[in-house]
Amino acid sequence: MTRQASGFRAWILQRISAAYLGLYFIYIIGYFILSPPTSITAWKLWISNPINSVGLMLFFVALLIHAWVGFRDVVIDYVHPIMLRVGILSLTALGLVGSGLWVARVIFLGSAPL
């Protein structure tokens, strides 16, 4: 996609990721209300189900995209000095990518059988 269209790309990514995040949140809040895991065994069993671990991984991918677009919009609106803006956005990108890699590691290792 061309540079000129990147505003549209961010806009549409924000909405598609929002739809997945919204549905997943309703599911996960329901799970934690209706049958919260009371032991490490139950918790491991839940997360070792591929549907749950892959769903959770997708959730975090959508979350990182959504957080990046939204946070970038806020920073562009309120932070005008260009170097400060670049600094904040760089730190945010590092933080988000770092958290994403960390969560991938947690889910991969955590979903291994006990």
């Binding site: 909405r15 919204g22 490490i40 918790w43 960390w102 969560v103 947690v106």
Partner: protein, 124 residues
């Protein structure tokens, strides 16, 4: 370059903010708050999967009073963000665009988010 010497009035304390504006600021603020809280949640998830002891430690953290208060604020932020997001999506589809329903839905988001957060907090 455009010459721009219009007078600018930016005293936030003298602006009158319609409810939809306040709700929208809440949407942004809750989003930023959740981005900042994200590493903490990853830490809890990590801890909870570190065997028997890690699971118990994560549960103790989540059940301590100060953390519970923070979790309540996070839940409120999440629900405000979710409901306001649904409202924005509906407006994208031309649903509820006029002034009256826009005001009504903004109030609905403002009030429903803390009520739902309290309900979920009491259930779990």
């Amino acid at each position: 370059m455009m010459i721009n010497n219009r007078p600018v009035f930016l005293n936030l304390f003298q602006f009158r903010f319609p409810i939809a504006a306040i709700m929208s600021v809440g949407h942004r603020a809750s989003g930023v708050f959740m981005v900042l809280a994200f590493p903490f949640l990853v830490y809890i998830l990590d801890l909870s999967l570190h065997g028997e002891a890690g699971f118990a430690a994560a549960r103790d953290i989540l059940q301590s009073l100060p953390v519970k208060l923070v979790l309540f604020v996070m839940l409120w932020a999440l629900l405000h963000h979710l409901l306001a997001g649904i409202r924005f999506l509906l407006i994208d589809f031309d649903i509820g665009v006029d002034k009256l329903s826009g005001r009504f839905s903004a109030w609905a988001v403002m009030l429903a988010a803390p009520v739902l957060a309290l309900l979920i907090g009491m259930l779990s």
